[in-house]
Symmetry: D3
Subunit: 121 residues, 6 copies
C-alpha cells in the first residue's frame, strides 16, 4: 500500500494524490485496489523501464478510444519520465494504423491540451 | 513502395513477404496501401526507435482484444528488434490494468505460441 | 408499444418519458424501436429479476467504456430497483478486471455524479 | 414474425433458415427476437435500399473487429443484393482508416474465404 | 498531397481546411498522413461512389462508439454528398442491431445536433 | 495468495487449477497477479453475492465480444454458483440491446457449447 502511494505520487505528482483522495472518498475499496494493484504490483521498475512502460500504456489507452482523462494523465506521466513531446505524438500517429484515425486524432488533440497546460508547445 | 517492401521484409522476414504476396492476389489496392502507408510512411526509424515502436504497437493490439494474428506477427517483429521475451510478457501483464484480464491473458497465450514456434521457451 | 412505454416510465421515471419524447421528435422510427424492442420484449420481469437484469446491464455498459449517458441512466434504474450504492460500486470495481481501470474508474465517477444528484452520498 | 422469416430467407438463403432453426433449438426467445427485430422491423426496404444497408452493416461489423462469422454472413448477403466483389473489398480497405489495419485485414481475408466458397475469385 | 487537400476541402468544406491547419500546427507529420492516406489514397471516387463510401463510414464510426467529433464531421460530409437526413438516421437505427442501442442513440443525438446547426430539422 | 488459489479452485474447479498451472509455467508474474488481484481481492463474497457477481461478469465479457474462452469459463462458474441455464441465456439476449446481435449471438453459441459439454441441454 505504501509503495503504491509513493509510486502514484512519483508518477503523477500532485494530480496523482488528488485522484487517490477523491477516489478514497467515493470508494475506499476502489482506491485501495488502484494503489495496490497497478501502482504497487504493476509499476515496478525492476520489470520494465518506465519510458517503455508509458510507451505501451499510451498505445493501449489511445487504442481504447474512450479514455481521454486517463490518456491525459499518462501523457503527463510520460513527460515526467522523459519521453519527448515528438515521441508521444509519434506513438499516436502510429495508432492511426492499428486503431484508426478517430482514436489517433483524439489522442493528438489530448496531447496538445497537456502540452499547452505545461507550456511546452 | 520499394522502401515499404524493404521494411516489411526487414521487420517480418519471409512471413512479411508471404503476407504481401497473399494480399496482393486478393486485393492489389489493399496490398499497396499496407506497403505505402504503415510500412513506408509510419515505420520510419528516424521518428522512433524500433523497440519503442513495437512496444507501443504490442500494447495497442493487445488492448484491441480481437487481433490475435496481427499480435503474433508483432510479437515476432518485437523479438527481431531485440525485445526480450520477459519484456514482451510484461507489456501484456500491464495490459490487465488498461484493457482487462481477458485481453491480457489471450495475449500471453499468443506470445507463448510464438515463443514455442521459435524454440525460445 | 403501450407495455413498452409503461416499462420505460416504471424503470426510468420522468427522465424515461423525456428521453422518449425527445427521441420521438428526432426520429419516430427510433423511438418506436426503443419502446418495442428493449422496453417491451427485453424488459420482461418474467424472464429475469430486475435487480439481476440491471446488474448485467451495468457490467456491460461499463465494459463498453464510451456510453456514459446510458450508464448514468441505468445507475438510476438500478437504484430504483433496489440495488444498493455499494453494490453498484462493486460492479464497477470488478470491471477493472474484465475491462480495465479506465472503464472502471469512469463508471465510478459517473456513479458518484448520480449519487450526488439524488443526495445519497 | 412471418415477414421476418421471409426476409431472413430472402437475405441469407438456406444459411439463414439454418441459423434460425439452430438458434430456435438453443433459445426460442433469442430466435424470435432476431426474426422480429432485425429481420422484420429493421430490414425494411422502404426505409433504405438493400445495397446501402449492407454497405453500412459491412463497415460496422468490420469495425467491431471480433464478429467474423456475422461478417461472412453479411458479405454473402451483400453479394446477393448485387454489391460487387470489388465494392466489398473497398469498404474494408476504407476501414483501415476508421478502425485500423488489423480489423481491415481480417475482413479482407474473411471476404476472400466467402468469394472462394462461392467460386467468384 | 495536393489532391488530398482538394478532397479534404471538397468533402468537409471550410471545416476541413480548419482541421488540416490546426493539425498542421500540432503535428505536421500527422497532418501530412491524414491528407496523403485517407484523403488522397482512400477517398478516390473511381473506387466507390461517395454516397456509399459515407454510408459505410457512418456505420463504422457509429459502431466505434467513442468518436463523436469524427461522426459529426462525416454526417456533414454525408449531407454534402446528397444523403438524406432520413437515410443518415436510418443508418444509425440499424446500428442498434450491430453495435447496440447506446452507440446508436448517441449517433442519433449527434446527427440531430448537425441537422440543427445546418437548419435542416 | 492462498485465499486466491482456493477461490480459483472453488469457482472454476479443476479447470481453474489447470489455468493457474499453465500460466505459472509461462509467466509466474502473471499467474501471481491473477491469483492475488481478481481471485483474492475482487472475488470476495462479503462484497457481492456470487450469483450477482457472475451476472455482471457475463454481461461485461459478452459486451467485449472478443473473449470467448473467458466467457465459457465464466458460464461454467455461473452454473457452479447456481445460475440457471435460462438465466444465462437471458443475460446474453439482453446484450443484443447493449452490445448488438453479433456479440449476443456468439455468447449464446458459446453457452450452448458449455451446456453440451456438461450434458445439461
Amino acid at each position: 500500500m505504501e509503495k503504491g502511494l509513493e509510486n502514484l505520487i512519483r508518477i503523477n505528482g500532485k494530480a496523482g494524490r488528488d485522484v487517490y483522495e477523491q477516489l478514497n472518498r467515493i470508494s475506499p475499496r476502489m482506491a485501495r485496489a488502484l494503489v495496490e494493484y497497478p501502482f504497487n504490483y504493476i509499476y515496478d521498475d525492476s520489470y520494465m523501464d518506465p519510458k517503455m512502460r508509458e510507451t505501451a500504456i499510451l498505445g493501449a489507452i489511445c487504442a481504447l478510444g474512450y479514455a481521454i482523462p486517463q490518456l491525459k494523465s499518462h501523457i503527463n506521466a510520460a513527460l515526467n519520465f522523459g519521453l519527448e513531446k515528438e515521441e508521444i505524438l509519434e506513438i499516436f500517429i502510429m495508432m492511426s494504423v492499428y486503431a484508426g484515425y478517430p482514436a489517433a486524432l483524439n489522442a493528438v488533440y489530448a496531447a496538445q491540451e497537456v502540452f499547452e497546460e505545461k507550456g511546452i508547445v
